[in-house]
């Protein structure tokens, strides 16, 4: 059985990739997927710790995260669709109406 460090490392790599994706990419869909990546990296860490500590609560929490992620996808995709319809673009740099 692989030690927990491995899972955590993978989780960290996945989280950093997601974070960088959000910060660097300009396509909203990609940014959205990067967020999902971060969420799943967190899920992985939850599951790894749950296994490591032999506690179910971590796994149960993952279900909550997945539920919230699903809801977030529903709202986020709706927003993106609406945004595309009005501005004919999903480039985040075009959406700067709230600048000072």
């Amino acid at each position: 059985m692989l030690p927990v460090t491995y899972y955590l490392a993978l989780s960290a790599v996945l989280f950093i990739m997601g974070a960088l994706g959000v910060l660097i990419r300009r396509n909203l869909i990609i940014m959205f997927m990067s967020i999902e990546l971060m969420l799943n990296a967190a899920n992985l860490a939850f599951v790894a710790f749950a296994r490591f500590h032999q506690a179910v609560s971590g796994q149960i929490f993952v279900f909550f995260v997945m539920t919230v992620a699903a809801a977030e996808v529903a709202v986020g995709l709706a927003l993106i669709v609406t945004l595309f319809r009005t501005r004919h673009s999903v480039d985040v740099d075009d959406v700067t109406l709230l600048n000072g």
């Binding site: 974070a19 959000v22 910060l23 660097i24 300009r26 940014m31 985040v92 740099d93 959406v95 700067t96 109406l97 709230l98 600048n99 000072g100």
Partner: protein
């Protein structure tokens, strides 16, 4: 003295408040119900109220006859401040009751007369409400006069003093829409009021001085303390009496303040009789008599009072000679007679002064009322002429188209045949005033002359000459009015007055005839009666008289002394009066007829005008005193008033101080507050804050780029920082 003591005294003393409240009741009835009452009812209500007052006064007099000491009836608390306790108390003594009898008695007769007299007025002017107004004022006057004479202290006396002044003002201006330019009567009322105000100022100062030195206004207290205070502060007592003299000259129409009384004849004739002859104007004499204790202590002040009285008596008597208005002659005669009384009380002959006050109230009231009867008789004659075209035309030819004056004696004449009762009572009044034996005026005037011969020879000379003039001008008046031929159509058709007017005249004529009985030689009833109140003062005077008499002619007291009547004085003054009457008779019958032969242009209206020349003009124009006062005082006063109004008030106070200093200063201050302070500092702070905020916000807004990744990076970095902090803390 408290109330229980009063009841122990017995008699009718406790009735004394009624003398004030009965007339008040009368005037209240007339005021409240008068609108629905008939003329007669109003007049008789007022007369009954006055008559009831007289009855109360008689009851008081009968009580006093058995108990001659002064009684004080407390009525209610008036002023209580610190040590000053001033109750409204009624003082019943022989002096005050004498005044009450005169005011109530003569007042009632004049009330009854006025019922008839004022009826004519209403008929002429077609305004019934004035009837009620007249009697309300009349009752108010009686009430005020009673307050004056029944007061037991100077301040309460002053209340009545002012009250009668007010009634005088109201009644002089009773026909306020008449007179010269339609305001002549109103101006006469104002003149009386303002002139009296000068006198009242003197009275008030005297009262204040009394309070300062005696700590009280009460007559008894002041009389008791007077010798001590006079010894300690003689100047203060002198000042009191002199300021009081100013008050007397105002109210009793003496020099220099007498000018209001002749103008006061603008009022209805009953007013002239009651207020301006019989009662109110004698208040000054009463005041001096009341203050006998003070005056006896300062001979210098007494001297002044006597001189003022004597000079006024002579001056006014000479003016009366030159007057043609029937009431003006009587007015100056009143001033002159008041001069006699003031001179008497000034010399310390208080009984003689009060005696003359009483008899004068009888015969001068009689003369005024008869003159009112004459005037209304003339008016009825004029009315008759107006309704007869032939007579009217004739009158226009004789007198021109101008307004006929029913008071001008030059238009009268021959009235003795047409107004018999009026003529006879007028004659009695004139002879009484002229001082003919045995009428009332003879006794009282003679007593004054006698006392003055001993006490003040200068005044004796003045008064004797005045008495000569008195007999002369009264003869002149009687002859001009009643004898000879009628000098105008109204006089030829004059009619006698109704009984309601003539009956009071007859009663007064009786009083004028018999008034001397009050104080006959040997008996001295009146002197004894007043002596209970004026006791010490009279004794002191008697002592002085005796002393003088002893020094002058001790040996020869036998033949001319008739129990207090000096035959020399009496005979001399009677002879003088008879001479004056004979002279007057000759001048206004014979001489007048001789003058009728002259052509109309050269014919004088008065034989004296030809004889005396410019002197008569001086008399006729009253020594130009009104004009002199106007030039010296009134115009200067108006100048000062104008200066104060224009220069001080308007130019300095209003234009300079208010506009320039106050308004200008305020405007400057508001400018400073508005411009530099508000706009500069307050707004500067507010605007500065706003600008600063704006600048700061301008900087801050740059943070809001609108790029999602910037926000995300901020969140990310924030998380890193927080996590870093937590990790570092763990280590």
């Amino acid at each position: 003295m408290n109330l229980s003591e009063v009841t122990s005294v017995g008699g009718f003393f406790s009735l004394v408040p009624l003398v004030v409240f009965l007339p008040v009741l009368g005037l209240l009835i007339n005021m409240i119900f008068g609108g629905r009452m008939s003329e007669k009812a109003i007049g008789w209500t007022a007369s009954l109220a006055s008559g009831a007052t007289f009855v109360v006064a008689v009851l008081l007099a009968t009580s006093l006859a058995g108990h001659p000491e002064a009684v004080t009836i407390p009525f209610l608390d008036w002023i209580n401040i610190g040590t000053l306790e001033l109750p409204w108390a009624f003082r019943v003594d022989t002096l005050s009751v004498t005044m009450m009898l005169v005011v109530g008695g003569v007042g009632t007769l004049i009330h009854i007369y006025a019922i008839g007299y004022m009826h004519e007025d209403v008929r002429h002017h077609n305004d019934p409400s004035r009837y009620r107004r007249f009697f309300v004022f009349f009752n108010l006057f009686i009430a005020m006069m009673m307050i004056l004479v029944s007061a037991d202290n100077y301040l309460m006396l002053f209340v009545g003093w002012e009250g009668v002044g007010l009634c005088s003002y109201l009644l002089i201006g009773f026909w306020y829409d008449k007179g010269k330019d339609g305001i002549g009567n109103a101006l006469a009322g104002k003149k009386a009021f303002i002139t009296n105000r000068i006198g009242d100022f003197g009275f008030l100062i005297a009262a204040f001085l009394m309070f300062q030195y005696f700590g009280s206004f009460n007559f008894d207290v002041i009389n008791e303390m007077a010798p001590a205070v006079a010894a300690a502060a003689p100047a203060a007592v002198m000042a009191m009496t002199m300021f009081m003299l100013l008050g007397v000259t105002g109210k009793s129409a003496q020099l220099p303040l007498f000018v209001w009384l002749p103008d006061a004849m603008a009022g209805p004739t009953p007013v002239s009789a009651l207020i301006h002859a019989a009662t109110m104007v004698t208040a000054g004499v009463y005041l001096v008599a009341r203050s006998f204790a003070l005056y006896s202590l300062v001979p210098a002040a007494q001297n002044w009072v006597a001189i003022v009285g004597g000079v006024t008596a002579l001056l006014a008597a000479t003016i009366a000679v030159g007057q043609f208005d029937i009431k003006k002659v009587l007015a100056y005669s009143t001033v002159s007679q008041l001069g006699f009384m003031v001179a008497a009380v000034g010399m310390g002959a208080f009984t003689a002064g009060m005696f003359h006050l009483v008899t004068h109230a009888f015969f001068k009231g009689l003369l005024f009322l008869s003159s009112g009867s004459v005037i209304q008789g003339m008016e009825r004659g004029e009315h008759h002429v107006e309704h007869d075209p032939n007579l009217k035309r004739k009158m226009k030819q004789e007198h021109g188209a101008g307004h006929f004056d029913p008071q001008d004696m030059r238009t009268m004449g021959g009235l003795r045949k047409r107004m018999k009762i009026t003529f006879w009572v007028y004659l009695i009044g004139s002879l009484a005033l002229g001082g003919i034996f045995p009428l009332a005026g003879f006794w009282s005037k003679d007593e004054i002359l006698l006392e003055s011969m001993h006490l003040h020879p200068t005044v004796y000379v003045l008064l004797t000459i005045a008495a000569f003039f008195t007999a002369f001008y009264m003869t002149r008046q009687v002859v001009m009015v009643f004898f000879g031929e009628p000098k105008s159509e109204p006089a030829a058709h004059a009619q006698e007055s109704p009984a309601v007017m003539t009956v009071p005249l007859l009663v007064l004529a009786g009083l004028s005839t018999l008034g001397g009985l009050l104080n006959l030689p040997y008996l001295h009833t009146f002197k004894e009666w007043l002596g209970h109140t004026l006791g010490e003062a009279e004794h002191a005077v008697e002592g002085a008289v005796e002393g003088l008499a002893e020094g002058a002619a001790h040996a020869s007291t036998a033949w001319y002394d008739l129990g207090g009547l000096d035959l020399r004085v009496a005979l001399f003054s009677t002879v003088l009066a008879l001479l004056a009457i004979a002279l007057g008779w000759w001048m206004y019958t014979r001489r007048m007829e001789e003058l009728q032969s002259l052509p109309l242009a050269k014919r004088p209206d008065d034989p004296l005008r030809k004889i005396l020349g410019p002197v008569f003009k001086v008399f006729e124009n009253k020594y130009w005193l009104d004009e002199i006062y106007k030039a010296l005082l009134l115009d200067r006063y108006v100048d000062v008033a104008n200066f104060l109004a224009q220069k001080v008030d308007w130019d300095f106070w209003h234009d300079w101080f208010h506009d320039k200093v106050l308004a200008g200063g305020f405007r400057g201050l508001t400018w400073v507050l508005a411009k530099p302070f508000d706009l500069g500092i307050i707004d500067g702070i507010a605007n500065g804050l706003a600008t600063g905020m704006q600048g700061l916000a301008g900087q801050m807004r740059r943070l809001q780029t609108g790029f999602v990744r910037n926000y995300a990076l901020a969140v990310f970095l924030g998380v890193v920082v927080i996590l870093g902090y937590l990790v570092l803390r763990m280590i």
